[in-house]
Every structure is written in C-alpha cells, then in structure tokens.
C-alpha cells in the first residue's frame, strides 16, 4: 500500500520517528505486529525493512527506527508528503492479559517502540502496569515521557546517566524486592536481554512473551529467512508469521 509521510523527526541521535498516513486498516493492527517498508523505488534495494509499529490512531501510525545502514538512512531522509510503499500489518502481536492482571513490560533500546503501543492498549484492561526500560545512556532514551503516563516506570542506563545504573534485570530484581509481583511479562529488545529475562523468570509462575527481531526477506512466511529454533530445537519457527511475538517457552533464546 502506498502511504504518505505525515511527520518525521529525529528523537535521539540517529533515531527517527516517522508518522505515516493514508488508507490502511489501522483499526485491525495489534500491538507487536510489524510493517515491511520498501526502500527506494528501483532495484538498488531489493529487500523491504521490517519495522515495528510504535503507535496507531484512526488515521495514522508511527514507527521509530535507528539508522543502521543504507535502507534505514533512506527512510530517515524522507520528507512530509513523500510516499512509502508499506506492506502490513504483518505477524502475530502480543496476546492480551485478562482484566486487571498485573503486567510487567521490559524494553531495551530499539525494542521499546512496539511496547509503547502495547502499553497504550493495556490501559483499557488493567491499571497494574510496571515498566522497565533499559538504554545505553541518557542520550539514547526514547519515549520515556510517554511511558511514564502508562504505569510505574523505571529507567536503567548502562552508564547511570539516567535512572538506575545497571541493566533491566537489576531493575526487575529491585521491583521484586519492594514487593511487586506480576502475572504477565512482555519484553522486546536485544536477544541477550530477552534471554536473561526468560532465564530470570524461568522458575516463576508468570506468562511471558517476547518479540523477536531478525533479518527478513519476504515478511510473509515464504522465504524462511527469519527462522528461530523452538525451545527443544526440534523445529524452526518463522518469526514473520509465527511471531514476531512468541510465548517464551515456544522459542530458544
């Protein structure tokens, strides 16, 4: 679908927020789903870029991306009014908790945006939301103001320049020590962080969901590029269609 850029801004160094409008089934989008966005219009860039959805309104959606290569650089150079060739919404999003469930959201770096969409959607279902977000430094922090309105927010930075000096697990441990308990844990971020989160909660009675990231080619399940082994390594799961959100006992992290 051809959509148009409605707004674009650099919200942190090399991190861009782009709002896209135009005819699209916005009301069907589930938190955790993603888009495949074409880069350029010619044959130079053959692969679309998989990008998560950070927020949705009735007539637009917002994505947040970091410039990591030529494709994301091209996206960051769009202007208001430019068209974007967007495929989506794709994949399976986060399963919702039951009413008034106690929820913990854990995000790291560029894993944070889809969790904001989730956090907003959860407002209708529960008031018991704790949020732990980890970033490298204060400079890299994104969406902290927005998240602070969604629940009890704890920020960690690797260098201590904002919030707790440490990682997200340190923050989770300190929340537990202060008596907080959860029924659901939703997380998205670097693979190492997701692995540590899963390990941390492995002996506890919580439902956990992770959103995974991987190089993708088709985004629709055809190419088997974005495979992830199941927990017992007996089969592979395609992140684009069986995920990107998985219950953490479905996949090996």
């Amino acid at each position: 679908m051809l959509l148009r850029v409605r707004g674009i801004s650099e919200i942190a160094p090399e991190i861009w927020q782009i709002t896209i409008g135009g005819e699209f089934p916005y009301e069907t989008i589930q938190p955790g789903q993603f888009l495949m966005i074409r880069v350029g219009s010619g044959k130079e860039h053959v692969l679309r870029r998989p990008i998560s959805i950070a927020a949705v309104t009735k007539e637009s959606m917002t994505i947040i991306l970091r410039v990591v290569g030529q494709g994301t650089k091209w996206l960051s150079e769009r202007c208001i009014g430019d068209s974007l060739d967007v495929l989506g919404p794709l994949g399976r999003g986060f399963p919702r908790p039951e009413k008034d469930a106690r929820v913990l959201i854990i995000g790291g770096g560029l894993g944070v945006p889809p969790l904001y969409f989730l956090g907003e959607a959860l407002q209708a279902e529960t008031d018991n939301v704790d949020i732990v977000l980890g970033f490298r430094t204060k400079e890299h922090c994104i969406l902290t103001g927005e998240f602070s309105r969604l629940g009890h927010l704890v920020i960690t930075t690797d260098d201590g320049s904002l919030g707790i000096n440490g990682n997200v697990i340190d923050a989770v441990v300190s929340l537990r020590n202060s008596g907080r308990r959860w029924d659901y844990v939703y997380s998205c971020g670097p693979q190492g962080m997701l692995s540590r989160v899963k390990q941390h909660f492995s002996s506890q009675d919580v439902k956990g969901y992770v959103s995974l990231e991987e190089h993708m080619a088709c985004g629709v399940g055809a190419c088997h590029g974005c495979a992830c082994p199941s927990e017992d390594h007996s089969v592979t799961r395609r992140i684009c269609v069986s995920g990107p959100v998985f219950a953490w006992d479905e996949v090996s992290l």
Binding site: G71, H215, V220, A222, H224, C226, A227
Partner: protein, 304 residues
C-alpha cells in the same frame, strides 16, 4: 487489435503464461495467495523438498547487497511426507501447475523423494535441485561434475513419471558442458540460473553478515549473468529452458526469452514487491502488443 497469446508448451506441459515464481521464493504458494489468485501464474515452483525435514542454517540467513541479496537458508523444509500430505493438496486446488523442487544429499535420496512426489499425483513436474550453494553435503556436488550429474539425472529419470527439469548452478566453468550432461541424462528441460556464491562482511563487527559466511546472490545484479548463461545453454541443448536471475519486469522476461528461454522464473522480485509476478505478466503482454508479437515462439531464442 488481437490480444497476444502468452501461453506456452514446455516439456509436455501447457502453461497459460511463461511466468513462474521460483523455488524458495514463494513458499508452498499459500503465503502469496493472500495477494492474488495463484491461477494467474504460469505455474508455481515450490520450496526445495528433501526426504527428511531440515531445520536449515543458523541466522542471519538473508542480507541485502547492492542490487540484490544473499541467502543461505540451507534447504529448510518440512520433508517430503509432510509436503505431500499438507502442502501440495492445498496448492493443487488452486488451478495452477505445480513444479516441485527436489533436493538431496545422495542419489537414493533424490530418487526416493521423486518417487513420493510422483506417487502423490499432485505435481506437474519435478525440478531437480543440483545447485544449492548453501549446504556442505549434497546438492552442489552433483551440479558441477558433468558425469556425476548425468548419472543422477538418469537415475531420477527412471522413476520420474512427470516432466523432469534440472536446475543448474552458475558456479561452474562451462555451463554448456553441464547443460549437455543433464540432457544426456534424460532431462526434459533445464532451469537456470541458481544463485551465484557471494559474501558480505560487517566491517564494524569484522565478521561475515551471514552465519553461513557465504550465501547465494540473487536479484537484479545477476541478470546479465543469467542472460549470458541461458544464451550459452540454449545454443547447445535441444530441450527447453526456463530462465531466471534478476527478473523484475516484463522487459527483463523478454530479454531471457530472446536469449533462449521458453519460460521464466521470478525469485527475489517477489520479496521486493509481492505483486511482482502478476505485474510482470501484464508488462510482458503489453510489450508483445506494442511490438506486434502474437506469441512467444516469435521471439524465443531470436538471438543467435
């Protein structure tokens, strides 16, 4: 003005047009049926199928390069029994001929998979994959030695009850010798080219981008190689050729047909644009109409 006729006869198959999504780029068809009815296509070539299920290689398995991509999927597939039971029956109901890509590590494995596919009665043709560059044992070893290839094709030919195509690797010194060997083994047709072996390095992390280190290069970057190799093969064999390699438009398809291909396969373009195949069919028809070409035989192999 009359409409041009896009239909073709190839190795005993009648196809409504010459555009076929390439193996590995179209799953088992279901994934693209959400975008358009598959009966618009000439045929569908499904993902490589092996005797046992295969998990494939570690990730990253795909990466973009200028004008193309590298893949090292590693023949991930659920195995022939699952394919015959759960994938082909659905696709067989879509009113489009099915070409099943068969891969293996040993001659008996190729033979066994071919038997099972033929016995299912669901496939229109077999495409023998002797050119996967991404698995250490098997595949490619059959595709680079003419004598070995001829023996394998002959063994599969003996049990294959439907048209047999052999998919050739471009990673050889002389494509003509390989093409002739496949023909001598009894192939009903050739498909070429598979991907060229490439590599990309992440210079900041100082390591290859793909977990497999190397991967198959596909996309617009390889089209001139495909045109040359289809042309060279067409000069020496009498069996029909399905050409592929970087086809993104009707004009690209015409180029391969003029080089000697009877039909074309479209791979990477499906990823860039899920509607690539129907668009290529429209553009091909448009080209024929504007050029006053009534059927594809008029231009096939017109480059001598």
């Amino acid at each position: 003005m009359s409409y041009p006729d896009l239909s073709i006869e190839i190795a005993g198959l009648h196809l409504r047009n010459p555009v076929i999504p390439a193996s590995g780029c179209f799953g088992f068809g279901r994934e693209y049926a959400r975008f358009y009815p598959l009966n618009q296509l000439g045929a569908v070539a499904v993902k490589a199928t092996t005797l046992k299920p295969r998990m494939g290689n570690p990730t990253p398995r795909v990466t973009e390069v200028s004008g193309g991509m590298l893949n090292a999927i590693g023949l991930a597939n659920p195995g022939v029994d699952y394919v015959v039971r759960y994938e082909l029956p659905w696709l067989a109901n879509q009113d489009v001929p099915i070409i099943v890509n068969v891969a293996g590590e040993t001659e008996p494995e190729y033979v066994e998979v071919t038997k099972k596919i033929c016995a299912s009665g669901l496939a229109s043709a077999i495409e023998l994959n002797v050119s996967c560059p991404n698995v250490a044992a098997g595949g490619i070893t059959f595709g680079v030695e003419p004598e070995v290839l001829q023996d394998l094709v002959a063994a599969v030919r003996e049990v294959c009850t439907i048209p047999l195509f052999v998919k050739l690797s471009p990673n050889v010194t002389d494509i003509r010798k390989i093409a002739l060997a496949a023909q001598a083994g009894g192939a009903d047709g050739l498909t070429l080219i598979n991907t060229l072996i490439g590599m990309q390095i992440d210079i900041y992390r100082r390591r290859p981008v793909l977990a497999n280190r190397t991967g198959g290069l596909s996309g617009p970057a390889i089209k001139p190689v495909a045109v040359r190799m289809v042309y060279e093969a067409a000069q020496v064999v009498d069996i029909p050729i399905i050409g592929m390699g970087g086809i993104y438009s009707g004009e690209d398809a015409v180029e391969l047909i003029m080089a000697g291909a009877s039909a074309v396969m479209v791979g990477t373009a499906n990823f860039t644009n899920p509607f690539a195949c129907p668009q290529i069919i429209c553009e091909l028809e448009d080209f024929m109409r504007k050029q006053g070409i009534r059927n594809l035989e008029e231009i096939r192999g017109c480059i001598r």
